[in-house]
């Protein structure tokens, strides 16, 4: 018997509640960032005494930084696109052996963190002490072969480690292409090359363009590589400049804030452009189209391409890990160590150092908390935005995707000011880091869960509705069980992301809240490179274990982790 309607519902409460939380998390720090950027009064005095735009014009005192940022970002984007395109082509369109495995492995550099890559490549490519250069000189070469402390060196590391996003996006585009379009071309007599140039390329270009814009926006906000490789020779990009301005004495907070706000504006614009061109509304990459891409049989050429794939993975994963291991086992890291240069001391110190233990412990604890709370929060948000029909859900999508446009470091800036004045004493504690992580990971988590959610046929939930189940009942009995594989994948992604987090943590750590990745950076700038290498390897081990668990679980349950 149909019964009367009641206006209050659990649905609305959960929906608007979680929307309010997201809005506070995201907008509160942005407000403080802007306030700091517009503060032209005495920097020591809070709240600001005078407002103005002087800080923004002050940015132009540093034209070199802007130029550097552009150079590095463009170079890194181009390199990422090249790597991404080549690898995507090889792995989705040819019959290279083991391509499914390689596709999964392409995510590994991302998990390894660009910091690790930067450390390793610094050890490899420093003009004087870099291993590659030492070998070069031993082989009779002059001076040095490569100098990693230049714009192109930085871009190289950025592309290797942060460029896997380009691969994922381009591969998705290639996979969603209807092979019949190419087959039609070939049936009409066009050769393979001509088909690729006239049919495939034009079809792929919009997707590649979208990837280019997205990757460029990411590169603008990149921090780790420029920090390790650029700072020593005073090569600053905007993010490292902001960090420098904040850390140096006396700090130039207001200009740093203005720089951050400007960077934010540029990235926001780029991401807005990206959405207009490619996604037309949603950030969810459309997966699961029913096309199976045509795989070309390239004969013996596949072994050459296999070599290319292996080479890429070697450069991005194998070589850095080997290098770090090599360095961490020496007293003073050189390419050709004497017999008495080997030692386990670095590992012993790393493992016994109280600071490291507590940093690792904090990171693990924080990882658990972030992943667990995050999954619930972001799950609700994903449902609110993509599945509920509550009014205003479109607006919440914008708010949730906001942090994508703000580099972590800049966001942490706002967070710093926002929560230092908060009456509850969370400043300098792990709770602040937790809030920071939940905020900056919103886009990642919501996107991942939404991707899985949208793959669930709506009719499964509607059917439960037609059987009479209330919203809470069907979420519990139908939606959540179906989401579990995706939720697990999201949990692990959040866990790994929080352990490898650098930009926000480095500004927000307090005495009781040290975490591992910024500690590695501090070690790089404050202790020997060998000890730092040992620390980095320990951190990698933790991430590797988490990653293996991720792959095992999601394979078993049959879902695929969406990046």
């Amino acid at each position: 018997m149909p019964s009367a309607e009641s206006s209050f519902s659990a649905q609305k409460f959960a929906g608007y509640g979680v929307a309010a939380v997201a809005a506070v998390l995201v907008l509160y720090p942005v407000f403080f960032l802007l306030q700091a950027a517009l503060d032209v009064g005495d920097p020591q005095v809070r709240p600001p005494t005078a407002y103005g735009l002087d800080n923004f014009s002050g940015i132009f005192q540093y034209p070199q930084i802007l130029l550097n940022t552009l150079t590095v970002s463009v170079a890194a984007t181009v390199m990422s696109l090249v790597f991404g395109f080549v690898m995507a082509w090889i792995l989705t369109r040819t019959n290279v052996p083991g391509r499914h495995l390689f596709e999964q492995l392409m995510a590994v550099p991302y998990y390894l963190t660009p910091l690790l890559g930067a450390l390793a490549w610094s050890l490899l490519g420093s003009p004087e002490s870099g291993f590659i250069n030492q070998v070069w000189r031993a082989l009779g070469g002059n001076d040095h072969l490569i100098d990693i402390n230049t714009a192109y060196g930085i871009a190289w590391v950025m592309a290797l480690f942060e460029g896997s996003v380009a691969f994922v996006m381009i591969a998705a585009v290639m996979k969603s292409m209807d092979p019949a379009l190419e087959e039609a071309s070939q049936i009409m007599g066009a050769g393979r090359l001509r088909t690729m140039l006239r049919i495939t390329l034009p079809l792929v270009v919009p997707g590649v363009l979208g990837a280019a814009i997205f990757v460029f926006a990411e590169m603008l906000g990149s921090f780790a590589a420029a920090l390790v490789l650029g700072t020593p020779s005073r090569y600053y990009v905007i993010t490292t400049a902001i960090y420098q301005l904040v850390q140096q004495y006396p700090p130039k907070i207001q200009i740093a804030a203005a720089m951050g706000a400007s960077l934010f504006a540029v990235m926001f614009f780029m991401l807005f452009l990206y959405r207009r061109i490619v996604m037309a509304g949603s950030y969810v990459t459309i997966t699961g189209k029913a096309f199976r891409p045509r795989v070309a049989d390239i004969g013996p050429l596949r072994y050459l391409l296999l070599g290319v794939c292996l080479l890429y993975l070697f450069a991005a994963v194998g070589l850095p890990l080997i290098t770090l291991l090599y360095a961490s086992l020496q007293k003073i890291a050189v390419a050709f160590p004497a017999a008495d240069n080997w030692t386990l001391e670095n590992f012993r110190i790393a493992v016994t150092m109280n600071a490291v233990r507590s940093a690792l412990g904090n990171s693990l604890l924080l990882g658990f908390a972030t992943a667990t709370i995050g999954v619930v929060l972001m799950g609700l948000l994903a449902w609110l935005i993509y599945r509920s029909r509550l009014p205003g859900s479109g607006l919440i999508e914008y708010v949730v995707m906001f942090p994508q446009a703000v580099p972590r470091l800049v966001f942490a800036f706002g967070l710093m000011w926002a929560w230092v004045v908060f009456p509850i004493p969370i400043y300098g504690t792990l709770s602040l880091l937790l809030i920071a992580y939940l905020t900056v990971f919103l886009p990642l988590g919501v996107r991942t869960i939404a991707g899985v959610m949208l793959q669930i046929d709506k009719s499964l939930e509607e059917c439960a509705q037609m059987c009479g189940a209330s919203w809470a009942f069907r979420v519990r009995t139908v939606t959540i069980p179906l989401l579990v594989p995706g939720l697990v994948a999201a949990w692990l992604l959040l866990f790994i992301a929080s352990i490898r987090e650098l930009g926000a943590s480095i500004l927000l750590m307090g005495p009781h809240s040290k975490v591992i990745t910024p500690s590695i950076v501090e070690s790089w700038f404050g202790t020997s490179s060998e000890l730092t290498a040992a620390l980095a390897l320990i951190q990698t081990l933790v991430v590797a274990i988490a990653m293996i668990v991720l792959v095992t679980i999601t394979r078993r349950v049959g879902a695929h982790p969406v990046e």
Binding site: Q44, P232, Q248, Y249, P251, I332, I349, V420, T527
Partner: protein, 366 residues
């Protein structure tokens, strides 16, 4: 402000004149403001005015320090060894940044720090003026000359001295080519292969000030042409030196030299005849501390023979001690054996902070 300036000058003049002045008397106004002195108790092998039982009940010590990570951890390790019931936690940042941090926090109403160690006298004096230090007279104070204490005493003391000369990579630089005097660091052959410290470093400020006084303002302008690499920590400087990333360092700190030599690095130290710029390392308990008794206990510990021995012998520290009864440094050298260059007029020094920062940042930073 005027008072302390007057009192420094007065005391200095008096000391030069050889007169000894009872500390308590000179410091009268500030000391009267303190709570009545308890009689000091002996703990381990030193005297303390802190309530040790209460300190252990507090169970925590929050330490802000300019030292690098292993150095700071090392200091904490020493204290914890003697007082295992007190958990230590620390924040480290180079002096300028560290000072800035604590000031911002305090202005936002956050008082989370118990003890702070700085490598620059200027911010210490500034902090004292702001009332940032807890007025606490340690019973160990008597073992220190007035020059090595705050004025009036009770705010901070010199827990050590960090002198710096020149250091170079001995495989890449022959003894003949090696720099011998301070002028030698301006030699164009070192361009692009020379390092120094960042502007937040107290020692760098001292070096800038003292050599400027000796050789004129153009000295550092010439140095800027060397395109030096600047870093936060002496370990980093020597790390690069040992690996050959830099050929020489313009600010080779003696403690780091000892550490790396022990590791077997091919580095050599040069003590130019004109002297070694040195900065005091300043420790003081912070006012409105969350764990006041632990803070006081730490100060006493640091001032004591025991604490000073730790500072001197820990490989990550190797500080020179100014305690009047301290033994020589592990290498056998005494601080008194070295010709140390301090700023003659600490107030003029402090006043030049901004000038230094601007010039130095212009050279190596933003």
């Amino acid at each position: 402000m005027a008072d302390s300036k007057k009192s420094i000058v007065t005391r200095r003049m008096l000391l030069k004149a050889g007169a000894a002045v009872p500390l308590l008397g000179m410091a009268a106004p500030a000391v009267l403001a303190q709570a009545p002195l308890k009689s000091p108790t002996k703990i381990l092998d030193f005297m303390t005015n802190a309530d040790v039982a209460k300190a252990e009940q507090e169970g925590q010590l929050v330490f802000y320090c300019h030292e690098n990570e292993p150095g700071t951890a090392g200091i904490m390790e020493g204290f914890r060894k003697d007082f295992p019931k007190i958990n230590t936690s620390y924040v480290r940042a180079q002096t300028g940044a560290l000072y800035n941090k604590i000031v911002s926090e305090r202005s936002a109403g956050r008082f989370d720090v118990d003890v702070i160690q700085l490598s620059d006298l200027a911010p210490a004096v500034d902090f004292q003026k702001k009332g940032g230090y807890e007025q606490y007279l340690s019973p160990e104070t008597g073992a220190y000359k007035a020059d090595h204490l705050s004025s009036p005493a009770g705010s901070f003391f010199w827990t050590g001295v960090d002198p710096a000369g020149i250091a170079y990579n001995s495989t890449k630089v022959s003894a003949a080519d090696a720099p011998k005097t301070w002028q030698d660091i301006l030699n164009p052959r070192w361009k692009g292969s020379i390092s120094c410290k960042i502007s937040a470093s107290g020692l760098q400020f001292v070096q800038w000030y003292t050599l400027r006084k000796l050789y004129g303002a153009d000295f550092w302008k010439e140095f800027a042409k060397q395109n030096p690499h600047a870093f936060d920590s002496r370990v980093q400087l020597f790390d690069r030196l040992a690996k050959g990333d830099d050929l020489i360092t313009a600010i080779g700190e003696y403690p780091a030299y000892i550490l790396f030599k022990d590791k077997g690095a091919k580095v050599e130290f040069v003590a130019p005849a004109d002297g070694l710029p040195a900065t005091p390392l300043i420790v003081g308990a912070v006012s409105k501390a969350p764990h006041p008794e632990a803070a006081k206990l730490f100060v006493d510990w640091a001032m004591s023979k025991r604490g000073q021995a730790w500072y001197q012998t820990n490989p990550n520290l190797y500080y020179g001690s100014v305690r009047t009864d301290a033994p020589p440094m592990p290498t056998g050298v005494r601080l008194g054996d070295l010709k140390l260059l301090y700023p003659a007029d600490w107030d003029d020094y402090a006043a030049n902070r901004d000038v230094f920062a601007k010039e130095w940042n212009g050279m190596i930073g933003l």
